[in-house]
Each structure stands twice: as C-alpha cells, then as structure tokens.
Symmetry: C2
Subunit: 208 residues, 2 copies
C-alpha cells in the first residue's frame, strides 16, 4: 500500500515537472500502476511459494534424518535444551520422550534448531492478492487528480494534497496496528512519500 | 532486484508504445527508478525498524510478566513443553530449571510461545541499502537501451532483449540460492517481467 501510494505519486509528480499535459502523466501513471501491481503481486506469490517450499524441504530433511541418523538428531534435541538452560540429565530425558513421536520430534527440530514456522495455508495466493489490490488502490489516489484537473500544475497540487493526506492516514493506522508511536510513525511514512516525490520531481526537471 | 528490473522495464516498454521519442521515456524511467529506489529503500528501513521494535517490546513484556506473574509464566513454559510431547511431570521439572535464569526463561518464551527470532544487528540499515542498491542497478538495465538507441522501437527491442536475459540470469541465481528447480524458477521470474511489461504496453497503447 505504501509503495502503491508513493511510487505512482512520485512518478506522476516528477513527470508533472517535465510534461505539460495531463494526458501523458496519466498514461505513465496507469502503466506504472499496472507494472507495479503485477510485478509486486506475482513477486509476492513467488516469495510465498518459496517460503512454503523451503519449509517443506526442511521438514522432509528432518524426517529423513530422524530415520537415518536418529542418535545425531537425539543429540541435537538435547543440545537445544541445554542451550536454553536445562541440565544435561533432564535434557536427555526430555529428548528421549520427544523422540517417542516422530511428528513431535520433527516439529521440535523445526522450531528450536531451524527456527522455522509453518507458513499459513494459501500464503502465496493471499500475499499476491493483498499486495496487488493494495498497490492498485494506493496507486489511484495520487493518479486521479490528473483526471479531474486541466493543467499539470493543478493536478500536481491536488495529487500532493490527497496523497500526503492518504500517506498520513495509512502511517497512522499502520503505527496503531504495530504498536509504534503514532506521531513519529505517521510522519515517517509521509516523509518517505514526500522525499521520493521531491527526488523524482527534481530529477525529471533536471534531465528534461 | 526483481522489482527493479521489472517495474522500470514494464513502464518504459509501456511508454514506448505511447510516446515517440526516447527522451520522455528516459525521463519517466529515471523518475520511476528514483521513486522506487527511495520508496522501497526507506520502506525497507521502516520495516526493519518495526521488526526490531516489535521484538524489543515483546521481550520487555516477557521480562515484566516474569516479575509480576511468575506462576503464570511458569505454567506457560510447561504448556509449551507438553504441547511438543513432553509429559507433565518432566515439563514441570524443565520449567523449574529454565526459570532459574531469567534470560533463559524470557528467551524460551520468545521462541516457543511468541515464535520470535532476534533480528540481526543493523537489520534496518542493511535492508534499506540492499533494496535501494538492487533497485537502482536493476532499473538501469531496462533503461540504458533508450539512451543508446535513436527510436522508441529500437529502444524497446534492445530493452526487451537485455532485460529478459537479466531476469533469466537473476531467476537462475535466485533458484540456485534458494534450492528451487532451476528451470521453473528461471522461467517464473522471467514470466513476471514479461507479463507486467505486456500489460503496461497494452494499457498505455489503449489509453493514449
């Protein structure tokens, strides 16, 4: 969402410093939103898929090690326990008990040795849809002012106003959700958008 | 890196279908790279910072619970152990031993109850620099052809050639690194770029 607000905002703001009709700014903005939406959405899908693959490969590996080198795996459970302050004798007893059930044993190794958490079901698809939809919604906020204004300058002013407002709302909600300081959280998200837009604007003006 | 290759590639390809001089394609491409680089780089910085914040807040909370409601926390250690197949008596003995050291106790809760891993030092700064640098390098690959060609069409052809090649190299290396199937991994990364560019091209052509 944050990239969806920021990148099309910065791009269209940048172009408004170099182009003199809203038409081309709109074409660029739409092309950017389509590109970002697909690239990040499908990229998120691949990342989610890799995560599931990685987890499954590691789990299979643990099960196979439990079959082929059980003494070694038992030793690893003991070591994971002594590492967190359990005395050797007790660690041995716990390891023996966990090893009574192969699923528990493999799960323990995944959590304590590899620190891997089971990815949630449909992770890849949910990631892809969330990212693509957020980018799409985010991207239209900075872009729509160029549709309803006649000059690049009035488009830029309106786009700055609505986008900075939207970035602040988003930053505020995000800070609230993640438990961060509301004021600094809000300002940080808005600043990124403003810095990115200013850089794109100055760069586009300089080279055109 | 993948977004840095794909988004500026798709945007410039899209614009090459709507604009007739390389000059404006280059201005848009540069503005997009600047915007994406800053938005994603600083966004990565904030994400890294949130992660560290989140970890520290949770750790502080665990230490405070250990002080204020130790019986409850002891019970939680026991439950985490019985959940992975350790019998109640043994779980109690282990919990008592772990609780002898507050650091071990808090660490155990962080790993087993909250499943939080300590973020590496300088995570936020490293994230920001890696993302920004990758986006910058990635972005110039699809853009430079428009600098060295005279027409939007020859720019587009050269950009497609070098970018699809770069996407395949990147997809191959990424698959190798993450242990995925090399052929499907390579094709997936390249496909995202091609789909995003085709969508941006068709959209830009349709609206201009």
């Amino acid at each position: 969402m944050s990239d969806g607000l920021t990148v099309p905002f910065a791009l269209t703001a940048g172009l408004s410093g170099a182009l003199h009709t809203n038409q081309l700014i709109i074409v660029s903005g739409l092309a950017e939103i389509a590109a970002g939406c697909i690239s990040m959405g499908l990229g998120g899908f691949l990342a989610g898929e890799s995560e599931v693959d990685h987890y499954n490969t590691a789990l299979k590996q643990e099960y196979s090690e439990i079959e082929t080198v059980p003494e070694l795996e038992l030793k690893e459970v003991e070591e994971a326990l002594t590492a967190i302050g359990v005395e050797p004798d007790l660690s041995k007893a716990v390891a023996l008990q966990i090893s009574g059930n192969k699923d528990n044993w493999a799960n323990f190794m995944m959590q304590m040795e590899l620190k891997l958490e089971k990815p949630v079901e449909n992770r890849a698809r949910m990631s892809a849809l969330t990212i693509a939809a957020s980018y799409l919604v985010g991207g239209f906020i900075p872009l729509f002012p160029y549709f309803i204004t006649n000059t690049n300058q009035s488009g830029l002013y309106l786009s700055c106003t609505v986008t900075i407002f939207a970035l602040m709302v988003f930053g505020f909600l995000k800070s609230k959700f993640t438990g961060q300081n509301l004021i600094t959280g809000t300002l940080k998200v808005a600043s990124i958008g403003i810095i990115a837009a200013a850089a794109a604007f100055l760069l586009a003006k300089a080279v055109s």
